[in-house]
Each structure stands twice: as C-alpha cells, then as structure tokens.
C-alpha cells in the first residue's frame, strides 16, 4: 500500500479514537450528573422536595461538568492533531512513539509540563505573573457555555446555558484574554515579553472589529442573537447555511428542481414571487458573495484573535523569542498553551455554528434519516420505561438528534481547525505595521461596506 495513504489512515484513526474518547467522556460525565444521579436520588426514597431540589442542582451543574471535562482533553487532542497534520503536510510522520501511534504524546507532554519547575523570574510581579495565565484561560471556558446548547441541538440538559443574547456574550468574553496577555507580558520583567504583549493588545483591538462585524452580519440575516435559533434557521440544507446567504438562493434552486421534475404549478408559483421582486436573483447572488467574503473576514479575524500564523506576532518566535510567554514555564506555560488551543476551537465552533449550519447536515434528508433510523433501533429495546433497566440506560444515554448534531458540528469544527493548520503550514508572518494597515485600511472598511450592502440586499431578496 502507498505509505502516504497509510499515514493518512493512521491520522484518521487517531482522530476518530481521540474524538470518541473526548465526546464519550464528556457525555458520560454529563449523563452521570444530569440523568443518572437524579434518577438515583428519586429512586432512593428521599422526600420529594429535597429530591427535586437536589436533582435541580445537579442538572444545573451539567454544563460546568461538560466544559471542565471537555476543555483539557480537547486541547490535548488538538495539539496532537496539529502536530500530526503538520507532519502530513511536510511529508513526515509526526509524534509516533508515546503510546500506540503516538496517541498519548500530548498526555505525556502535559505530565511533563506539570512536573516542571514553576519559575517566576527575578523582578517579576509575582501576583500578576500568576494571574495572567488564569485570566487568559478562564474566558475560553466561560465562552464555550452558550455554544454547548447550539452544538447539542438544544438538549434539555444544556438548555440552561442557552442565552437569548448568546453570541453577544461569547464575543464579549472572547475579548478578555488579551488582558491576560498584557498582564503576562508586563509582569514578566522582560522586554521581549512586553513588546509581545503590547503587540497583542494592538492586534486584538484592531481585529476584533472586523470579526464582530462579520458576526453582526450573520445576526442581521438571522434577526436574533440566540445561537440556537441561528443554528436552527440553517437546518434545511447546505443552501440555507449563512455562508451561502442564509437561504437566499433557495427559491431559485427550488425553481430549477421543480423545472427538472416538470412540476409546473410550483414553477408558476415561484415565478410569480419573482415578478414581485425583479431584482431578487441579482440581489441573491450578491448576497451570497457578501456572505462568503464575510466568512473569509471572520476566519482572518479569528486567526488574529487567537494569535495563529500569519498573525502570531505576539509570540513571533524569530523576533521576540517567544513573545509574552517567554518567561513562563511549567504549568503556567501549559495553561497558556491550553488556552490558545481552546480559543482556536472556540472560534472554529463559532464559525461552524454561525456560518456553516451548526449541527445540521448539509443535505436535507441526511439528518432526519439518521435520527429516524437510530430512533427506530432504540424503540426496539425492551423495557425502556422502567428505570435502571438496560433499555432505559441506553435510551437516556443516546439521543438520536443530539448524536447527529454532535457528529456534524464536530466534523465542521475540526475541518476548520485543519484548515487553520494548513494555513499555519504555509503562510509567513505579517509585520506589525502591515498587520495594522491590513486590519484598519482593508478589513474594517471592507466589512463595513459589506455590512451596509448586506442590509440593503436583504430587503431586495
């Protein structure tokens, strides 16, 4: 067999194994806290009021448990995934020694980092120095919460974190980490760190604007800030995804389909609709173009936001040694590292929820078919009503619609992550003044113009 295919196969295997571990573990933890434990309490014969209170408390804990389990394992996997993917792009093999196929490489790295000496440099502001990684890391945990609801298809356990202004909340939280960077850079008592931190502040402020504007455009089309609703609006098919104009093209495709099927009535009905809005087709195409460009802007801004190449100036290795985290070692460095990858995951999942239809399949029948099939199998199970019977266990563990949604959102998010890795493998780094010029002179005007255009076009379609 071709060794290259073999390597790709190994990479795929590794990804599947890790992802099933991650999401299996997360779901198992959530289920244990949110379903199994309340059931146990109810069955234990406690007074009803106490029991319901206790279950309520446990249910409220579920999102927290989910995030706490999910973030460290996920970051570990992402580091490994990044290294293996980079190895694939550069005709190497990547880490392949620790565990089968190098599966446990990052786990070993994490353990190593935990045991390393935690150094606070001479002259550093110890409190700030310690607080910086925490402040850098905390937002990525808090920020994930509303996304959980959208990612799980508004599963009842996660309904509590579904804020009506979800995306607004996520964006607000996402701008906090820069404070951590500046603190870390300043407290390190190192000129390179300081320069890196200041660069980071400048960069984060400038690139947040196009990032937010592109999200605003999506909210404008959706008419809501609720991530679950935004995701649900895109459920029909590929064409209703926000990246393709949020359904702007649907009537035309329907027209073509109807034409091909020879369904004259439908064709007539659609044509009548068009006559009311003669500029419709033109506007729809323009709108799709606008949305695709917005997606590009979002990806660019997101790369800058999470300090990825080509925008990794705060830690530009060839210039600033390692930028703001030059002086960090051991667990503090590990937290920076963890947060960086979690941030990448967060921005990628925002992109897949906002632009790529969230947990919905690209083709209309796919999701429904899968759900029905799985639901059918589950219904066959005997004794699914009695508590603690195997049927009950499986039924409460496996929710067909959640499984399907989780699968698609994972696929979309990690595709974006791998795209980010591809970018990292290819592009050189901007210079700070070019970065600022690009942000302020190109991206911000472009996104403003497009936003106005989109507002107008939306009326025409």
């Amino acid at each position: 067999m071709n060794p290259a295919v073999f390597e790709i196969g190994k990479f795929a295997r590794l990804t599947v194994i890790w992802l099933s571990i991650i999401f299996g573990a997360v779901w198992a933890a959530c289920w244990a806290v949110g379903v199994f434990a309340p059931a146990l309490i109810n069955a234990s014969g406690m007074p009803t009021e106490t029991a319901s209170l206790a279950s309520e408390v446990l249910r409220a804990l579920v999102p927290v448990v989910a995030v706490a389990v999910f973030i460290p394992i996920n970051a570990m996997f992402m580091v490994l995934c990044e290294r293996r993917a980079l190895a694939l792009f550069t005709v190497r093999k990547g880490p392949n020694r620790v565990g089968p196929d190098g599966l446990l490489q990052t786990a070993a790295d994490a353990v190593k980092l935990l045991f390393k000496e935690d150094i606070t440099p001479h002259g550093a502001d110890a409190v700030m120095f310690t607080a910086a990684p925490i402040i850098f890391f905390a937002p990525s945990i808090i920020g994930v919460l509303p996304l959980l609801a959208a990612a799980s298809g508004n599963h009842e356990l996660f309904r509590s974190v579904n804020l009506p202004t979800g995306i607004f909340y996520v964006l607000a939280i996402a701008s906090i980490p820069v404070v951590g960077i500046v603190m870390g850079g300043w407290a390190s008592n190192n000129k390179y760190s300081l320069v890196g931190a200041l660069r980071s502040a400048a960069q984060a402020i400038s690139y947040e604007i196009p990032l937010v504007l592109s999200i605003v455009a999506v909210c404008l089309m959706a008419g809501t800030l609720d991530v679950v609703k935004i995701a649900d609006q895109q459920k029909d098919s590929l064409l209703s995804w926000n990246i393709f104009g949020g359904g702007a093209l649907l009537p035309y495709v329907n027209l073509v389909v109807a034409g091909l099927q020879g369904n004259n009535e439908q064709v007539q009905a659609i044509m009548q609709h068009f006559q009311a809005q003669p500029l419709g087709p033109f506007a729809a195409v323009l709108m799709v173009v606008c949305c695709i460009i917005f997606f590009g802007i979002y990806i660019t801004g997101a790369c800058a936001e999470v300090n990825r190449i080509p925008f990794d100036l705060p830690e530009a290795e060839s210039e600033l040694v390692s930028g703001y985290n030059t002086e960090y070692s051991g667990i503090k460095f590990a937290i920076f590292f963890l947060a960086e990858f979690t941030n990448l995951f967060v921005v990628c999942s925002i992109a897949s929820i906002m632009f790529l239809g969230g947990g919905h399949a690209p083709l209309p029948g796919l999701e429904q078919g899968f759900t029905e099939m799985l639901g059918g199998i589950l219904k066959q199970l005997p004794g699914s009503k009695e508590i603690f019977s195997p049927g009950w266990l499986i039924n409460s563990l496996v929710n067909p619609s959640t499984v399907s949604q989780a699968f698609w959102i994972i696929l979309k998010t990690y595709s974006l992550v791998i795209f980010a890795i591809l970018i990292r493998a290819t592009l050189p780094r901007f210079r700070i003044d070019q970065l600022m010029a690009f942000g302020w002179k190109r991206l911000i005007p472009l996104s403003l113009i497009l936003l106005i255009a989109l507002t107008y076009l939306r009326e025409l379609v």
């Binding site: 071709n2 060794p3 290259a4 295919v5 390597e7 790709i8 190895a87 694939l88 792009f89 550069t90 005709v91 190497r92 093999k93 392949n96 591809l422 970018i423 493998a425 290819t426 592009l427 190109r442």
Partner: protein, 255 residues
C-alpha cells in the same frame, strides 16, 4: 478601486496556490526514518567509530605498530603502546587506545594506515555514561573476523596479504619473552615516548627477577606500576590469562 480588488483577488489566488502546494504533500510518502527500528543505510565511506581490523581471511591482527595514525591525528586521541620483539626484531603491538571523546572522526588515521588496519566503521551509537568509557582499548577496538570481512567488502578494500613471516599473534608473542629469554640485551624500546626510558630503568630488575610465564606472579607488580588506575581495574575485571599476560607485557618490555 478596481486595482485594489484585482490585487486582492490576485493575492488570494497566490495564497491558495501556496495552500494547495502544501496540501498536495499530504499524498506523498513520508521521508521519516524511524531510527532505532530501521537503521540508516550508511555508505561504506561513512566515518563512524574507529576500529582495528583483522585480516578477514587469516584473522591475524593487521596493525604493525608503525604509529602513523598516532602521528597524524589532529586531536592526539590515539595512543599506541608497542615494543620491539626480541625474537623477530619487529614491532609488536601491546595496547592501542583511542579516546573517542576527543576524536573528531576526520578519518586521517585511516588514510595513512599502510595496512588498512584502522578503519572507520559504520557504528555511530557510542554514547556512554562516562568519558573514561569512551577510551577504547585494543580489545574493544579490534573487530572480529566477520566484521572485518564485512567492512572490507563494504569499503571495497583489497584483502591484505598475510604478513610475510608468519609472526605469532601478539598474545602468543607476548608469552615468549616472558620465558626467561628476556635477558638477551633488550634493545632500547621503541623510543617514541621519552618517559619510557625512565620507566624502563625502574622496572628492569623486577622484570628479570620474575618467574617466567607466571601470570599470577607478575600481576601484582603490574598493578602497582600501572600509573593509570582504571586500566588495572579493567585488568582485574577480566581475569582471563591472556589479559594477565597482556598486562605483564608492558612491564617486561619496559624492563
């Protein structure tokens, strides 16, 4: 305005070309060699650890103690001990030490060696726990007959002819002078090292007094004299008679 858009599109196009070029590499076989599992295929000329070859056919030691390598070594990492055999009047090798911690693997010694005795092997895994362990002595340096044959064929070296006079092997030759024949006016030992003269004067009586060929008896004196303590340790660790004889040797020679 259009220029700007054009440039943006062009830039995007070239970025995509770059991304595609990188992505294309996914389909190529990796060039990584998993080192300890698959050893690198080293060429014959590779300059690895130094070793002394024996004649692949007759297994006689090829070194003629000419000290060419010792002379040419830029790092002075080779140390040869040899004496002139009283019987044949030829130089005989007693010990050959190479300090691989000093060696820079330039291969000059292998070039000047008239008998292609000292060769660079393909071995490069020499890591050890102490610097002293990197000093290889004659025993550690000498290759087996099979290994010698392997390197001779790999390096395309002509198989050397056996030495003209079937001289006894160093160990056998070593035993000879100890048979009490030491008396016949020992010609001044190969005066390569000035220090040897002094040592010779000191040890002369001891050498003549010793019962011939009694390895056990010569051993204590040898140990006492050995200025290099670790060497004697090595000898103690290897109590086989040939080693003891080898040790008795310099003692005799210098006497």
């Amino acid at each position: 305005m259009f220029g700007l858009v054009g440039r943006a599109v062009e830039s995007l196009y070239y970025v995509c070309v770059g991304l595609w070029t990188v992505a294309k590499h996914t389909g190529r076989a990796p060039i990584t060699k998993e080192f300890p599992d698959t050893m690198p295929d080293l060429p014959g000329a590779f300059r690895g650890r130094l070793a002394l070859a024996v004649n692949p056919e007759t297994s006689e030691h090829l070194c003629i103690s000419c000290r060419q390598c010792e002379r040419v070594c830029p790092d002075k990492c080779i140390d040869i001990t040899a004496h002139k055999s009283p019987e044949t009047g030829k130089l005989e090798l007693i010990d050959f030490k190479i300090d691989h911690g000093l060696c820079m693997f330039c291969g000059l010694c292998t070039e000047v060696c008239p008998t292609t005795c000292i060769i660079n092997t393909n071995d490069f895994e020499m890591s050890d726990y102490s610097r002293e362990a990197l000093i290889y002595d004659l025993k550690k340096l000498t290759l087996t007959q099979d290994e010698s044959a392997h390197y001779f064929s790999k390096k395309y070296l002509p198989i050397p002819k056996p030495k003209p006079k079937p001289a006894p092997k160093p160990a056998a030759a070593a035993a000879k002078p100890a048979d009490g024949v030491a008396a016949p006016a020992k010609p001044a030992p190969p005066a390569a090292k000035p220090a040897e003269g002094a040592a010779a004067a000191k040890s002369a009586p001891a050498a003549t007094d010793k019962p011939a060929g009694d390895a056990a008896a010569t051993k204590p004196t040898a140990e006492k004299k050995a200025d290099d303590s670790k060497d004697s340790e090595k000898e103690k660790a290897a109590p086989e008679p040939s080693a003891a004889e080898g040790k008795a040797e310099p003692d005799k020679t210098e006497g």
